[in-house]
Amino acid sequence: MSQLAVNLPGLNLKNPIMPASGCFGFGREYSEFYDLSKLGAIIMKAATGSERFGNRTPRVAETASGMLNAIGLQNPGVENIIKHEVPFLANYNTSVIANVAGSTLEEYEHVAAAFNDTEHVHALELNISCPNVKEGGIQFGTDPEMAARVTEAVKRASNLPVYVKLSPNVSDILSMAKAVEDAGADGLSMINTITGMQIHLPSGKPLLANKTGGLSGPAIKPVAIRMIYEVSQEVSIPIIGMGGITTAEDVLEFLLAGASAVAVGTANFQNPFVCVEIIDELPHVLSKYGYESITDVIGKGVSV
């Protein structure tokens, strides 16, 4: 196995770097900047049962070392994604992960099952943690019992490995992680954004039309590292880590905390080439800190 490769359920990654869901669309725009085959994997924008138009604008607001977003799961619906977007990504030599969202248990099952019909999706990321939609998403992600139920349902409906994306907006991340592991999750992805708000001084009102939004970017990296560090010691399924990754050093930090691969989100907006620059830089950072390979690093920062 090469120095950067990692094998996870359903995913034989040539490197541990993938763009995060919602920050990369379905890859088309960034394919104009570089060859998507360079990526370890691509996590597609969330799919719901039918088309969603999302929230009113403004949908983004910059914050110190980060940003708030409240897009609202805008997407063309799962059938359309399978028909028009998955075939595009199938042109590239990279793993494809579908992000599955819904308002009801049935919608999650429907969306997950729909991806059974395509051979070009290699795993599902179960989105039970979107803070920006009125119903669905977050309530499945803050109650361990609900999280377990939706995980079981999606595992039954799908023939693909399921990575459950955890919300940091909980007081006990460990019980959430354990609940979905017990329910059959093949892996975790963490963390989603942290709910926040910004007041616009000239108007005296919340800047985002949705009022609240999800905080992402370097500001949330220490929260992600802490949660991955805690969870990785208590679960035996792999973790895809995310939250403010901008550099190859950040990746090393996530791996040390216990992640087996990572997703890069907000940083793509600042630098469209960030994922490939991180991939190119990783071997140097590994050798700088005395590691031979990615698998050599995973969990090394955790004291047992």
Partner: protein, 250 residues
């Protein structure tokens, strides 16, 4: 195609209250930019780039002129940038103004910091021998810029909200007094665009929109606008920022 380019600041100066003109040097963008497109500028210490429309291009000198207003933390920082500095920009971004070869007279309607992209458009249209009429609205005398530049293109009416320069009122107050035109192009505050499209609903026209953007390349769905038929949406950064006035719901 959008490139990630390094541009060198050749000059930066104040041209009106809180309004700056920056001349940049870059080969690729100066050869490819069309009127209505923008640059997505990286600002050190900021997560998100700032979209700034292109106000002029000189392909021979390989320069790009941008005008911006000092509003928030990002534009405050850009206003401090000095000649010689190198900026990281994505561009040219978005789709430019659609130009119909049959139009002989065009009306440009700009409001405040919405005026700059219309200058690049007006210059391009004037070069093609079309008649240009410009109506430019500003808050007050100290906000007025590019009056002489637009006058060099054709008849130009300046209006200010407080009447301290030119005519008093809004751009829509003088639209009745203009002669015939084949097409209008407008950029400015949303209420102004709403008023214009309501006054001349059947007139062929194009509007350039502004919105808070994330990626600026069409991937993040931050800057969307519903289509007029309410059956879909457009991405302002990628499908726009210019739209037919009948295409979107303001």
């Amino acid at each position: 195609m959008i490139n990630k380019e390094q541009v060198t600041i050749l000059s930066s100066k104040t041209i009106a209250l809180d309004t700056f003109e920056m001349v940049l040097n870059n080969h690729y963008i100066s050869q490819h930019a069309k009127p209505g497109q923008f640059l997505h500028i990286y600002v050190e210490g900021h997560t998100l780039r700032r979209p700034i429309s292109i106000a002029n291009v000189d392909p021979e000198q390989e320069t790009i002129t941008v005008l911006f207003k000092r509003m928030g933390a990002g534009t405050q920082k850009i206003a401090t940038y000095q000649p010689g500095m190198v900026l990281d920009v994505l561009g040219p971004s978005g789709n430019g103004f659609y130009i119909d070869s049959n139009d002989s007279t065009v009306l440009l309607i700009g409001g405040g910091i919405g005026v700059p992209p219309l200058y690049f458009l007006g210059k391009t249209l004037a070069k093609q021998g079309r008649k240009i009429i410009s109506v430019l609205g500003f808050q007050s005398k100290q906000h007025v810029f590019y009056e002489q530049e637009f006058k060099a293109l054709g008849e130009t009416i300046i209006v200010t909200n407080d009447g301290s320069f030119g005519e008093q009122g809004f751009v829509t107050d003088v639209m009745d007094s203009l002669g015939q035109y084949d097409c209008y192009y407008s950029c400015g505050p949303l209420p102004m665009l709403q008023a214009i499209t309501a006054i001349v609903p059947n007139q062929k026209g194009y509007i350039s929109l502004e919105e808070r953007m994330g990626c600026g390349v069409g991937a993040c769905f931050a800057c969307v606008i519903p289509t007029a038929d309410e059956a879909g949406y457009r991405k302002i950064c990628k499908d726009g920022p210019v739209f037919s006035a009948k295409e979107v719901t303001l």
